[in-house]
Each structure stands twice: as structure tokens, then as C-alpha cells.
């Protein structure tokens, strides 16, 4: 397995685990509060729709010329990665509230309970919320799998990394039967933001015709450079908001 394959597996696995934690939080909150049958049906239908979208887009994406694919998909990945990194840096420096799965879980449970009891065996509320949660979070997983997989011509490897990550999160969630609050989600998002930004920068520059010094090995410099710059941004922003400052390590792991 090459260095870029390892990067692909890490980036896709981490990103998909984060999305799976978010989707599972919603499914567990609605399922435990209302109807498991409708919730699981909603989640299953969302997975079927996602599979169809992946099959359709995957075929289309892999037929594009490599440079067009790299510049287009790399650019999208870069924009997407910068969004993740921006949010993660703002959260780590306490300018934006940390993503709290326990709070989201409690909010979803309260909303589900307040929506009234299901009239019959089928509960439209549970179905809709589970479908939306799984579909929207899953769409990000599909996007990441396709962009990483197509660029490296390793869609199978990207899909396997995503599958393992999602499976691990689901098994953990089912075992706990509660929100995965102990998962260091904000730190994971920080890591994903760094990986997406680094790979997006690398591929879009290559697709635009630039040649990286050292070819693929440039990623081994680019990824730590983006990480160091992002951490420097956290440190600089934290100094601006002294009242809310916690040690950097705590901010990234809570």
C-alpha cells in the first residue's frame, strides 16, 4: 500500500466515521423515543437511495479524463475541506460552539417526544427524520468516497475504508444504545479538514498542469504543513478570545 493509499484510507475512514456518528445519533434518538420499525425503515430506504446515487455518479465520474477529474473534483474537495477546517478551527478556538452529540441527542429525543405519538404501526415522523439524517450525512460520505476513490483509481479501497468506519461506529452505537459522546468528534473533524484540504490542493494543482516537487511524496510535506498552519490559526484565534480559552489539547479532544 503506497503513502497516498494510506492517506486515502485515513481520510475516508475518519470522514465517514464522523458522518456515521452524526447519522447514528439521530437514528438512536428517534428510534428509542418513537418507533424502531419506522426509524430503521427510513434509514434503510436512505441507504438504498444513496447506493443508487453512488452507482450512477461513480460510473459517470470514472469515465472522465484524469486531469479534468483532478481539477474539478480536487477543486470541490478543496472547497469542502476548507469548510471543514474553518469550522474545526473556529470550534477549537471557542469562537464557535463545539459539536456536542449528547446535546444533539437530547434535542432530537425531546423533538421526537413532542411530535406526538404515532397513530398506527407506521410513524411518518420517525421515517422522515431517520431518512433525512442518514441521507444527508451519507451524501457527504458518498462525495468523499467518490472524490478520493476516482482520483486515485481506488474506488474499491475508498468504499471499503468507508464501510469499515461506518460498521465500527454502528456496532459501537448499538452496543452503547446511546450517543457516542466519547468519540473525539471535533478532533476527528480537524483531522479530516486537514486531509481534505491537503489532497484537494494536491490534486487540483496537478489537474491544472502543475508538477509537484517530488511527485506524490509532496503530500508528505503538504499534510503536515496544512496541520501546522491550522494549529497556528487555532493558537492565534484563541489569543483573541482569552475568556473562553482552554488548553489547545483539551479544545481538540472535547
Amino acid at each position: 500500500m503506497s503513502a497516498t493509499d494510506v492517506g486515502l484510507v485515513l481520510a475516508v475512514g475518519l470522514a465517514c466515521a464522523v458522518e456515521a456518528v452524526e447519522a447514528l445519533t439521530i437514528v438512536l434518538a428517534v428510534g428509542l423515543t418513537r418507533s424502531w420499525r419506522s426509524t430503521l425503515t427510513g434509514a434503510a430506504v436512505a441507504l438504498v437511495v444513496l447506493a443508487a446515487v453512488t452507482a450512477a455518479l461513480g460510473t459517470a465520474v470514472t469515465t472522465l479524463p484524469l486531469n479534468a477529474l483532478r481539477v474539478g473534483v480536487g477543486g470541490l474537495l478543496l472547497v469542502f475541506g476548507l469548510q471543514w477546517l474553518r469550522k474545526a478551527i473556529l470550534r477549537a478556538s471557542h469562537i464557535k460552539a463545539l459539536h456536542d452529540e449528547s446535546e444533539i441527542y437530547a434535542r432530537e429525543r425531546a423533538a421526537a417526544a413532542a411530535a406526538g405519538r404515532p397513530a398506527g404501526a407506521r410513524d411518518a415522523y420517525s421515517f422522515t427524520i431517520a431518512f433525512k439524517g442518514v441521507f444527508l450525512e451519507g451524501l457527504e460520505v458518498v462525495f468523499i468516497v467518490l472524490t478520493f476513490g476516482a482520483n486515485q483509481h481506488r474506488i474499491g479501497l475508498a468504499a471499503a475504508a468507508a464501510g469499515v468506519a461506518v460498521l465500527l461506529v454502528v456496532v459501537a452505537g448499538v452496543a452503547i444504545r446511546g450517543p457516542l459522546a466519547r468519540v473525539p468528534e471535533n478532533a476527528m473533524k480537524f483531522g479530516v479538514g486537514v486531509m481534505l484540504t491537503s489532497f484537494g490542493t494536491f490534486w487540483s494543482a496537478e489537474g491544472a498542469g502543475a508538477h509537484w516537487p517530488g511527485s506524490d511524496a509532496a503530500l508528505l510535506v503538504l499534510i503536515p504543513a496544512v496541520l501546522v498552519f491550522a494549529l497556528a490559526c487555532v493558537a492565534a484565534l484563541s489569543r483573541r478570545a482569552p475568556a473562553a480559552v482552554e488548553p489547545l489539547e483539551t479544545a481538540l479532544t472535547t
Binding site: V71, V79, F80, Q83, R86, L90, S93, S204, A210, H211
Partner: protein
């Protein structure tokens, strides 16, 4: 809101996110890289520099009071 407008809003939020300037800056930086790559000058450094600048800019805007 019509379904088409809702879909457009979803795609915008999904791809562009909170700060459209970042997306616009990335497009400009890729275009500049492509233009410089056709010359004899090295073009690989443009995007990393743009990423650092765009990230600093968007964080500076988000961190401003008010």
C-alpha cells in the same frame, strides 16, 4: 420555496458553505495555476499559498466581533 430553489439552496450550502469567498478564491487560484503551468515558471506553489491566504482571511472575518 419551490423544489428547484430548495435544491439549489441545498447544493449551495453543501458545496460552498458559510463563506462564498473561499470557493471563489479556490476557483481563481486553480485558474491562475493553470495559466502559469503553461509557462516555464513553476506553478505548484500557487495553491498552497492561496489556501493559507483564504483560510486566514475567512477565519479573520469569522473571528471579528459582531
Amino acid at each position: 420555496m419551490s423544489r428547484l430553489a430548495a435544491l439549489g439552496a441545498f447544493v449551495w450550502e453543501f458545496v460552498v458553505g458559510d463563506d462564498w469567498r473561499v470557493a471563489a478564491g479556490v476557483v481563481l487560484a486553480i485558474a491562475l495555476t493553470a495559466a502559469v503551468a503553461t509557462t516555464t515558471v513553476a506553478a505548484w506553489w500557487i495553491l498552497p499559498l492561496a489556501v493559507a491566504g483564504l483560510l486566514a482571511l475567512t477565519l479573520h472575518r469569522a473571528g471579528r466581533p459582531g
